[in-house]
């Protein structure tokens, strides 16, 4: 299997959340993302910072991760972004 790039990993993480009815706990997301916990933390924080996902804590203290509008837009535009990068060799 080819090595995933940064954008591929971001897409995969966002897809996992979307496929999980847009709500997932951090541990299953880490497991399904198939990356080390160190890298997961980096990507997770970056996605939060960029506003592609948000995390909410319920009354019991459980943390849930959701996609934002921007996150959904990223998934919609992902193919276009990749094709653009490929076309201009960026």
């Amino acid at each position: 299997m080819a090595k995933r790039g940064k954008l591929d990993i971001m897409r995969d993480m966002l897809n996992i959340i979307r496929d999980n009815r847009n709500s997932i706990k951090p541990t299953p997301l880490l497991r399904k993302s198939n990356i080390s916990s160190k890298r997961f933390k980096e990507y997770y924080n970056e996605l939060l910072e960029k506003g592609l996902l948000k995390s909410v804590q319920d009354k019991k203290g459980n943390k849930f991760i959701f996609l934002t509008e921007k996150g959904l837009r990223f998934l919609e535009k992902y193919r276009t972004i990749i094709e653009f990068i490929d076309e201009f060799e960026l």
Binding site: K50, F74, T80, I81, F84, D86, E87, F88, E89, L90
Partner: protein, 226 residues
């Protein structure tokens, strides 16, 4: 009797104005068409690509638009500016911006191979500043040689990348467009520092440069779905 239109609008200024207008519009359209993609992905290659075209827009705005505004609206007289000083400032901004545009465009295709480093961006700024200063303070020949050498060096790097391009036909076509763009940048700089350099070919150079920008814009719009 009304003075002829040429009195207000000499033909060479008209050609320069249309030319610069096309380049500015194309560059800004490229910059804004890729805005959302960059905001979503924060991808460095897209960032450098966008910045290259922003600098192209600034370069051509400073070179031709300021000249046009000063001449057409007689701003120099109104604000009591020294036309020579404004000429120096606009030449400095043009040389700095066009050098940065070339560096950024080159970096947009090379950043992965060169390992991204902020130091490189500082170096680009330093080189662009030196080029702009040389254009103003150095002798015309010295500055031309320096600028041409740097741009040719950039073109050479691009040519090597073009030769090694894995992306077959598509990539090679792109590198060819960029190489032509760099050549036209050199010709544009020659045109500014030695106004008599191009003479009869000036219009052809303007047309060819505009065409290259329009081709890039077309490719961008096609690939961004705009």
């Amino acid at each position: 009797m009304r003075p002829p239109i040429e009195y207000f609008f000499p033909p060479e200024i008209g050609a320069e104005l249309i030319y610069s207008f096309i380049i500015i519009i194309c560059s800004l359209m490229i910059y804004y068409a890729t805005k959302e993609m960059y905001e979503l992905s924060s991808y460095k290659g897209i960032k450098y690509f966008r910045q290259a075209f922003l600098f192209f827009a600034i370069a051509f705005f400073s070179r031709y638009f300021i000249k046009f505004l000063l001449m057409f609206f007689n701003v120099g007289e109104i604000l009591r500016f020294s036309m020579m000083r404004i000429g120096w400032i606009s030449t400095f901004i043009f040389l700095y911006s066009i050098s940065m545009a070339v560096f950024y465009l080159l970096y947009s295709v090379m950043w992965k191979k060169w390992n991204h480093s902020q130091l490189r961006i500082y170096l680009f700024n330093l080189f662009a500043f030196i080029i702009a200063m040389m254009g103003l303070l150095g002798g015309v020949i010295t500055s031309l040689l320096l600028i041409a050498a740097l741009l040719l060096f950039a073109s050479l790097i691009l040519f090597i990348a073009y030769k090694n391009s894995k992306n077959s036909r598509k990539g090679k076509k792109l590198y060819m467009i960029y190489l032509l763009l760099f050549v036209f940048c050199i010709l544009n700089i020659f045109d500014i520092l030695i106004p008599t350099f191009l003479q009869v070919y000036q219009l052809a150079i303007y047309l060819a440069s505009s065409l290259i920008f329009m081709i890039i814009l077309y490719k961008v719009l096609k690939n961004t779905g705009n």
